[in-house]
Symmetry: C2
Subunit: 419 residues, 2 copies
């Protein structure tokens, strides 16, 4: 126990020191490091895939379920994606040092804001090894020192990838501690890390609801939380028929296991007859299990009963719950009660309805006539994302480079004194 | 104990409900309410001052120290200031609903950000009754529901002021629970409040280091912290003599008891001979006690010894510690070790030195050739401030209306689906 505490203190001190050196790092140097890391990964494909195979074998023997094995798995195509993502982060503008809103004040001083790194960011994640690289790259580009703690099932893959990161940093003369990977799989590390407010400026958990809740509960460091995505599509009475069918169908079926998938469809009673028969047929043809409220069930014999539990469930599967509502107010109330603050979309041609929905729905992304599947850092133009924040504080929605920074005030004078 | 828990749950539920109604509140309605509150205060001066006199009498009998009595005291001039501050907040633009950066993406969707309220904000403060009004006004204008918990010594004054707030809200048809004042002085309320993450979105403590530290320790809700202000002025080797004297003298002597006062003066060794004799004489003539490092002491017999403790002390008094350093790097290192992340100023005509100082000093305000006394919401053009954040997360420096809001993504499509 004591040795874990010491370990975390060492990690923390290394991180603080490296964060200082990052303040001097030039954009060119950071980009070069990202480029180097990509090259290292390309060069060491065999080693990385071998380590990953060992993780996979080990996890299979331990009975890890198929979906998790798939997340853990690396192959050449996935390494290509990782390399591509590094190149994209390299090509993004450097957020650090950007000065904005510099304005003269009546006193004669000029006041503006400068974008700066948060400092040290701890990222706690589960089985996906690509997070090791994404998180390293995003933190590096945003001038933050990173402490990475991946899942124990991916430890060999993560260590192999981390070797590439380290080499990439060293080659451009950056402190290798700008990114540190926790090599031990002891769980106490996480508990200590989230309490280390003198060494860590923010924690980003990337994983299931359980992980995020456990971390938030113990954290004495600010947490950028992504709890879960119970996303809604609401078809308004004034929805365009084709748009409603396209947006709802794509929101549910584009991919099932993702947090931006529509889990519940709300339909205004006056739109049902016009839109639902075709939409329901489309879902059934695609093999989506439908669970509806009493009124919805009348529309097809194949619609199962939705219980109260359904409205609070993130299926992450080919299942959709459907509820017919009598007004936009009822739809917004349903979202307020059952949503997770992730993403909601309204389909409507009505000016006032769309305006009301945008203003009143308290989610990190609110959409009009667009599929919830668009809730994503790349689609929003942020480049890679380190997570999607369902918090209200600091940053909401997809978190890219800017979410990993903050702004300080700068004041320029000419010997000015205050009266 | 159980009844306090119930009380906080009731406060929380009332706040959540009123926050919902605030989403529908128009700018006009909010401004009208602020105007009404000002009128109510003007109309009820006698009642407010009588309640304040009772607080003062009670506190005197309890032996409250002079400085705190002064903070607690209200008179007609101070009521004028409170009314003036309400008018200023009324005249500020409404931040809520502001849409920015709305841009088309390659997919055809248009992505932007909309500024929204945080929701419910808890403000915990000590003896100054004006915070009751400032906090109410800033929260109202930024669309947040406020739960106020003032010091027990000011309870009668706060209740009298709160009556004006309530009346002002009711008169424009707003829910009176948009602002709630905790009437009990039981301290358990604070402990419960800072743990109520389902009802409260942010806590702002306004008070001494002890209060802030205690709240941060127990909080399960994000805290906008203002710890303390150990502000530095650094006179560089290339400082202009007159600017150095003006900026350093004003930073220390404009007001002593404020967080933006310069507490430590750092001077480059090569600037000492040119600047310090006149500056030291000025401080001594003004009655400022000087405590210096070994080298500084050689400059005048009236300079006392600065011990290690001095570098970490926020005097809030007519005392200044002085240290002579050999380089800008030494100055930045001193600030890093001893500063509180509040405000630091460099006096220099050297381009590279000023650029380096701005980039590397990690404080919420970094100044060039300007007095630290400028670190203030009004001076920065934010209008009234609810505090000065020395945190790195969410908001840094003076916190005005914008610091009480956050931004959600909005996505506008035309039936767009994601490939």
């Amino acid at each position: 126990m004591e040795s874990i505490k010491d370990l975390v203190i060492t990690l923390g001190k290394n991180a603080r020191n490296s964060a200082k050196t990052l303040r001097y790092a030039t954009t060119k140097q950071k980009n070069k490091a990202l480029n180097n890391i990509a090259k290292q990964i390309d060069k060491n494909r065999t080693t990385i895939l071998k380590a990953n195979q060992q993780d996979l074998d080990h996890s299979k023997n331990n009975g890890l379920e198929e979906a998790l094995l798939d997340r853990l798995m690396l192959d050449n195509a996935r390494l290509d994606d990782i390399i591509e993502s590094l190149k994209q982060i390299e090509s993004m503008p450097d957020p650090i040092g950007e000065i904005s809103d510099l304005k003269f004040r009546p006193s004669g001083i000029q006041v503006g804001k400068m974008r700066v790194a948060l400092g040290v960011i701890g990222i706690i994640y589960e089985s996906r090894p690509n997070v090791t690289i994404d998180a390293s790259a995003l933190c590096l580009k945003s001038g933050n020192s990173a402490i990475l703690r991946g899942g124990s099932e991916a430890i060999r893959s993560n260590l192999a990838l981390y070797d590439c990161v380290k080499q990439g940093l060293i080659d451009v003369g950056l402190d290798k501690n700008c990114v540190q990977l926790v090599a031990t799989t002891n769980r106490t590390v996480v508990n200590e890390l989230v309490k280390s407010s003198s060494y860590v400026d923010a924690i980003i958990p990337r994983g299931g609801k359980g992980l995020v809740a456990a971390i938030s509960k113990n954290a004495q460091v600010p947490v950028i939380k992504h709890l879960h995505g119970i996303c809604h599509t609401y078809i308004d009475k004034d929805a365009d028929t084709q748009k409603a069918i396209d947006v709802a169908f794509n929101g549910k079926t584009r991919r099932y296991g993702v947090c931006n998938a529509t889990e519940t469809l709300l339909v205004h009673a006056l739109a049902v007859e016009r839109i639902m028969p075709e939409l329901i047929a489309k879902f059934i043809a695609k093999g989506v299990e439908l669970r509806g409220c009493e009124q919805t069930q009348k529309l097809s014999e194949q619609i199962l009963v939705a219980t109260d539990k359904d409205w609070d469930t993130e299926y992450l599967d080919a299942i959709l719950s459907i509820r017919i509502v009598n007004s936009i107010t009822d739809a917004i109330e349903h979202i307020e009660k059952h949503g997770s603050g992730h993403t909601e979309s309204i389909v409507s041609e009505n000016y006032s309805a769309t305006r009301c929905f945008m203003r009143e729905v308290e989610s990190s992304s609110v959409m009009v006539n667009a599929s919830t599947a668009f809730a994503d850092g790349f689609e929003y133009g942020l480049g890679a994302e380190i997570g999607i924040s369902t918090d209200k504080f600091h940053v909401r929605g997809p978190v890219g480079l800017e979410g990993l920074t903050s702004q300080k005030f700068i004041v320029l004078g000419d010997g000015h004194t205050r009266k």
